[in-house]
């Protein structure tokens, strides 16, 4: 697998097949921590760390432990336990390093455990049969796309606070409409893969 294909994989999963706008994963933190752009960045960093670490650990566990022992059906349980312990670790680190961020993220920090993005990435690494390099690219591309969209969305939402919205649509419904329009905008990037194929590689 050469570098060019890895680059295409990266672009595909950050911009075109975006994890939030195209695969609908991680919607809970997307709605929950997008009210302020600073906490969006913090959340993105935490999720990035958890996803990369969880991918490395589960990849090793699956191919070195579960497969030789013919315990493939234990994947779901093993992976979720690995993710839960990693999240606990990140929580302790953030609490110690930055109490302000810890407070801003609130309940959404322990909820990274139940963030579908993390489990989805670890499961896809196996089911798509990625090599080590592909696995690493994929598990960096997904959280980068997540952070990008979360940040853009949070800046829009900061402006949304001061606008006049019909009562029934206040809060989450109008945010979802914004997300829909963002999905529409991002679907325009679909031609990018062909572009990279033609001009960069």
């Amino acid at each position: 697998m050469d570098l060019g294909n890895l680059f295409v994989l990266f672009i595909t999963f950050t911009l075109i097949n975006n994890v939030i706008l195209n695969q609908f994963l991680g919607i809970c933190p997307f709605m929950g921590v997008s009210k302020k752009s600073s906490s969006a960045i913090g959340m993105g960093a935490a999720v990035t760390f958890v996803i990369v670490a969880a991918s490395l650990v589960t990849y090793a566990l699956y191919y070195w432990v579960l497969e030789p022992l013919k315990l493939e059906y234990m994947d779901l349980i093993t992976f979720i336990l690995v993710i839960a312990s990693l999240v606990q670790l990140v929580e302790m680190v953030i609490k110690k390093m930055s109490p302000a961020l810890y407070k801003a993220l609130g309940v959404y920090l322990p909820l990274i455990t139940t963030n579908c993005v993390v489990l989805n990435v670890t499961l896809n690494n196996i089911s798509e049969g990625y090599t080590f390099a592909e696995m690493l690219t994929y598990s960096i591309a997904i959280p980068v796309g997540f952070t990008l969209v979360l940040y853009i969305f949070s800046t829009i939402r900061e402006r949304l606070d001061s606008s006049n919205v019909p009562t029934a649509f206040q809060g989450n419904p109008i945010a979802l409409i914004v997300a829909g329009i963002m999905a529409l905008a991002f679907s325009g990037l679909a031609g990018l893969v062909e572009f990279t194929h033609c001009y960069i590689i």
Binding site: L21, N22, Q23, F24, L25, G26, I27, C28, M31, Y73, L76, I77, I80, L81, A84, P110, L111, T113, T114, N115, C116, L119, N120, L123, N124, S127, P166, T167, A168, F169, Q170, G171, N172, P173, I174, L176, I177, A179, G180, I181, A183, L184, S187
Partner: protein, 230 residues
Amino acid sequence: MNRKENFTAGFIRENPVFGLYLGLCSTLAITTTLNNAIGMGVAVILVLVMSNVIISCLRKVTPSEIRIPVYIVVIATLVKIIQMLIKAYAPALDSALGVFIPLIVVNCIILGRAEAFASKNGIFDSALDGLGMGLGYTVSIIVMSAIRQLLATGILSFENPFHMDQVIFSLKLIPEDYVISMFSQPFGAFITFAFLAGALAAYKNHQNAKEAKKEAEAKKQAAQLAKEAK
């Protein structure tokens, strides 16, 4: 709160999807066809009822510090069982729902009910709560998928999930020239969801305003009675 109230809470008052915004990922992703929605709904009901029962059984022996890992292991085991059964008996449904079947593990509704209800209540009540919430979720995704499928393809159909070529019903309601294929895309998912959530919020606001009005009137009457008594 009696049992009936507890059972019906999931439909409108505490609707997990459009009211509490739980389990959004699967709701947005799999509501492209009625088939997917019904399959997903049944899988979630099964997992939710069984996990509520098991967690309720274990509630007295689980130390509260490690309760979340215990819940997650229970839920993950149940989901893996369901996933293997679906793969074996309804392979078409398995390929349609894809990764969203294992992702039931991280569906907030299930962990949320375990934490909020099953860890504090008896076995029967917990099973009832799981069934009610599961049905609330299922009804929500069925409504949403019906809207999306109808607007995107003009056809409302349901096939037997065990034999995909056996069509149970199929209605062609909108002529082909008038369908909006956008609704099967992510944009359609977000917009449909936003409007349904807005509709529920409007209904709730209306209901609250009615109650507030009633209360105000009752107060006025009481004040008048007091005046007359003087």
